[in-house]
Symmetry: C2
Subunit: 329 residues, 2 copies
């Protein structure tokens, strides 16, 4: 591969001069500049950014770690954050942890070796090993989706307790009295714990009751379907169901339909996320809208600020949500 040296030889000047031309610096005679530019053209010289990065001690790299790509939260987030990063003249180094806690930590280390300038971590859990890894990271880390502020980790989270609380209100207002919750796994504080907690708080507050159950499964339609099939048998009086995600809720809708009950009438159902699926299914799903792309954008902005100032002005940012009224509740 042709380097600065080759161009210099070809143009009959020194490396320094070629470098100056490449970087548009002042103080190069017009004629030499043109000579050099011609030489650059001629041998198709492309500056080696790796060498530049080494010299300048800046890589312009932002590491982004996600549990998987094909999810609304992450795909939308990536679409939101990428323009911000591009505008800051940086690049996205993407890692798919595939929901694997070990890999998450592994990537934080690898990214530090790669000398990324910052890391955006989409998390589905937050244990002490992960906290440690984040603390060890030289590059600043912004956590998305889980609250790390207790550990002094700048975080961008959704107002999950509030969503649960509001869900309780919506279900009660719609006339439900026997309300259950389907979550994911207990390690996911935000999605499983907080949403349940919020629901519980409202039921206590308004009716001095508690949710009938806290079932758990995966983030899938199928999982929602299977769980609900059983839950309908176990809890015949169930008339309100809050599902931690829209996909779970859509599975629930299907199970309810099969049981000859009518979702939205016999059983009110609520999801979270405003997945596109929720407006297409029938009955259409009442849910909560999260602005995933905006979250990605804000997270990127927060990280960039952190990179510049070495200290964040905001240590925790809570994203709002919007109630979406449809047929199921």
């Amino acid at each position: 591969m042709v380097g600065l040296h080759d161009v210099a030889k070809l143009a009959g000047v020194s490396k320094s001069t070629v470098s100056r031309v490449m970087n548009n610096e002042y103080g190069v005679k017009k004629s030499t500049k043109e000579k050099v530019q011609k030489a650059i053209e001629q041998c198709g010289y492309v500056a080696n950014q790796v060498a530049r990065d080494l010299k300048s001690n800046k890589t312009h790299l932002i590491g982004v770690i996600v549990p998987r790509i094909a999810s609304n939260a992450t795909a939308g987030g990536l679409d939101g954050l990428s323009p911000v990063i591009e505008l800051a003249d940086k690049h996205v180094l993407l890692a798919n942890s595939d929901q694997d806690n070990i890999k998450e930590i592994e990537y934080i280390k690898r990214f530090n070796q790669k000398r990324v300038e910052g890391i955006l971590l989409y998390a589905t859990h937050l244990d002490s090993a992960l906290v440690d890894a984040i603390k060890q990271s030289d590059a600043p880390v912004v956590l998305v989706g889980q609250d790390g502020s207790l550990f002094n980790i700048p975080s961008l989270i959704y107002d999950d307790i509030s969503v649960g609380f509001t869900a309780g209100k919506r279900l009660i207002d719609a006339g439900a009295t026997n309300i259950g919750f389907i979550g994911v796994n207990s390690q996911d504080i935000a999605v499983d714990q907080c949403r349940y907690q919020g629901l519980t708080q409202y039921l206590q507050h308004a009716k001095q009751t508690s949710p009938l159950f806290h079932s758990r499964g995966e983030f899938s339609i199928e999982s929602g379907f299977q769980q609900t099939k059983q839950l309908l048998i176990d809890w015949p009086k169930l008339d309100g169901l809050f599902c931690a995600t829209d996909r779970i809720a859509i599975g629930a809708l299907k199970a309810i339909a099969e049981s000859k009950k009518i979702a939205g009438k016999d059983i009110k159902v609520l999801g979270v996320g405003n997945d596109e699926l929720s407006q297409v299914c029938s009955p259409s799903l009442s849910t909560f809208n999260y602005a995933f792309d905006l979250t990605g954008k804000k997270a990127a902005q927060m990280l960039l600020e952190l990179i510049h100032n070495k200290q964040s002005e905001v240590s925790k940012m809570v994203m709002g949500f919007e109630s979406i009224e449809r047929e199921s509740c």
Copy 2:
């Protein structure tokens, strides 16, 4: 930031020795090794990959350019390709071209500066400027979604003509005789042109007729809805509709429902992509399944091979598809 030099000083050895320990090389006395490792621990040394990359002239970087993330083809593709790239001990440098032709070319150049080892390009078009940029690229490029084999660009494509052909057959077999097509924009050879061409071929072949129309819009539900609303007025005899994507088809379904016709009975509708939406909507959408994640995996494998052998064994790979029978056709 602490470097090899600092560790060496702290351990009272030379840089070379520290380097040997870092790379687990033979021929280091056990005691020195331990001494060095302690020093590494002590000052929290993390190898600078940028320097290594410069020295070894390898970045372990694979550039991936996509038109946007939040689409089944790209999100699924990314989930498919990332494990392959990880297994090859490389990283994904992600760029979102946001459907912008200029940016696509820009990123190919930037990636070459970054000295990526190869580029995966998810394309929605292929004009001569893009072909040139690919030709100029030092890093090998694999094209996904458009056929660049005529220009000697290794490509991974879907069998779009065949899909169109099969769509024709499915619609005719279901009893449709007045068949229309909704595509995207004419620059998208694969999605717009090929699928239409295949449909046309079957209609010619089986009935010596042609599609009633070739309408065009965007990749969205709304666009499908708006177009279909008008098309139903313009073509009252329409009884078969092939849509270039599932989202367009779902919009069409909605327009048909509003017109008091029954999709699947009065008008047979077919989409492409087997979007999750298509099994949730009602009537559920008959479509074609594309294995997006497998495509990503294959594309990554093809690129890795190209990187190793400097020459591809396969210059073009055509992914198959699967007919999905549901209610709409």
